[in-house]
Symmetry: C2
Subunit: 250 residues, 2 copies
DNA sequence: CGCTGCTTTGATCCTCATCAAGCGCAGTGG
DNA sequence: CCACTGCGCTTGATGAGGATCAAAGCAGCG
């Protein structure tokens, strides 16, 4: 199968949606626009393009020119790095309102792939940079997102380096739930659109260990798995203690 | 022992070195000042203070107000997070010219501790932010440092999540060497001022595994350990292949 | 109905953690 | 000058947590 990325397609064809995207923007409080002065908001809107992505479709590959940053309006995206022998490490999941695609150099250091069909807000970095110097409010917002990424990486590094499998899963579940709350969704029936393989590659485990640990959680009454893609946190407090190593299973 | 941090002391006393620090600045090409327009350079210089730190002294603790960012002029610093039961994960090592101390919120998310006696350039974030909006060249430099941190975290996440012990150590050694080259030092007799415990807590291993793996490297002719604190990379090419999972030991 | 892909469950193995000495060296004091 | 001691590193023996190998549910779907 030919692996042309959507970003590449769009770059070539110049296709983008017209119209008035921000008025129909579902981001609400997590939007970059919402709290901007009208002038800055208009300038940002002028840069914006909407991108649609099918499930499992690749947005950009590691090594592609880093021309845009993205914000999911709907759907979910994963970023990952691969080793030559096929080992994979997912570096982050991105949901509605999350900003991703920053790069230190001129190329992306990870691959971005849609977990489910997505609608993304796309911003060209070159023009965004120019805007940032003129729009201090926006600049602070973007800085905040970048620094939040750093803080999440620190947590992920602690998780990967020092936590046991149950602690990793407990951290993952409470983290997903906290992020849902932060963007205005409910804490407990939490949407987990990614499969076991993605969870495993995010937590530095195998799918078997993820599966086994989740069934242990279920037997302990910590969670419910009513249907694939949704998880119910039945005892979030204990999950949090587990995540911090203050409690253990059985 | 009372754990007053140096940063706290300085904040209280307001003590800082006067004089002309940048003219004696040993950073050279890794300096933030070097390539700035004179006006911006002067403003940055006005914010700067020099901090001296004894070995193993704490610069700031996780949870302390995040008032400054720092650049080592000499010495080495480690940042780490602790779990309630004492497990420790080092999130990064910082050498001459590296910028650290960014924080998403108002408090530090890690503890910073000197590995050896240090001299640090200290910049107050509040005033630095104001300067950044007026000094676009400096702003781009600082952005670049922040994005470089993100890229290094991605690598560390891959390392912790998916690499074996020998791969981790090979990555560590080549990484240390590459950073030495980037700041103008030699690639091979590389200074490794941190002890085995620090290396272990950085790589998600134990000191025993670090020690054993290094002796295997030595027996394979990959490295030499002439004296504590210095390592010679005898076969950097093979170390790199090891780091990428393209080669194995014995 | 029989695929196909994902998840669960089971049996076995292996890497690395844990537990426990032993070593080398610097500092200290007799 | 040399035991004594403390610390960091190395080395050895054992064990556990999670990986690997294997197979069996369990949908959705053509």
């Amino acid at each position: 199968m030919a692996q042309t990325t959507v970003a590449a397609q769009l770059a070539e064809t110049g296709r983008m949606d017209g119209g008035d995207p921000c008025s129909s923007c579902p981001l609400g409080p997590v939007s970059l626009c919402r709290s901007l002065p009208e002038a800055e908001r208009q300038e940002l809107l002028a840069l914006q393009a909407t991108v649609r992505l099918g499930g499992h479709e690749t947005l950009f590959n590691e090594g592609d020119p880093a021309l845009h940053v993205f914000i999911p309006l709907a759907g979910a995206v994963k970023l990952y790095k691969m080793m030559p022998d096929g080992r994979r490490q997912i570096t982050g999941f991105f949901f509605r309102g999350d900003l991703f695609g920053f790069s230190a150099g001129t190329v992306h250091t990870t691959t971005a792939e849609a977990i489910v069909p997505c609608v993304l807000c796309r911003l060209p970095v070159a023009r965004l940079e120019g805007l940032l110097t003129r729009a201090p409010v926006l600049e602070r917002l973007v800085w905040g997102r970048a620094l939040a990424s750093l803080a999440r990486f620190e947590e992920q590094v602690l998780l990967l380096g020092r936590k046991s499998a149950p602690e990793k899963l407990a951290s993952f579940l409470t983290g997903i739930s906290d992020r849902a709350v932060a963007r205005g969704d409910v804490a407990s029936p939490v949407l987990v659109p990614m499969g076991r393989a993605d969870i495993a590659d995010y937590l530095g485990l195998t799918i078997e260990t993820v599966s086994r640990t989740l069934t242990r959680f279920r037997h302990e009454g910590l969670i419910d798995l009513p249907r694939p893609g949704t998880m119910v946190l039945r005892d979030a407090a204990r999950l949090r203690r587990l995540a911090d190593g203050l409690d253990t299973l059985g």
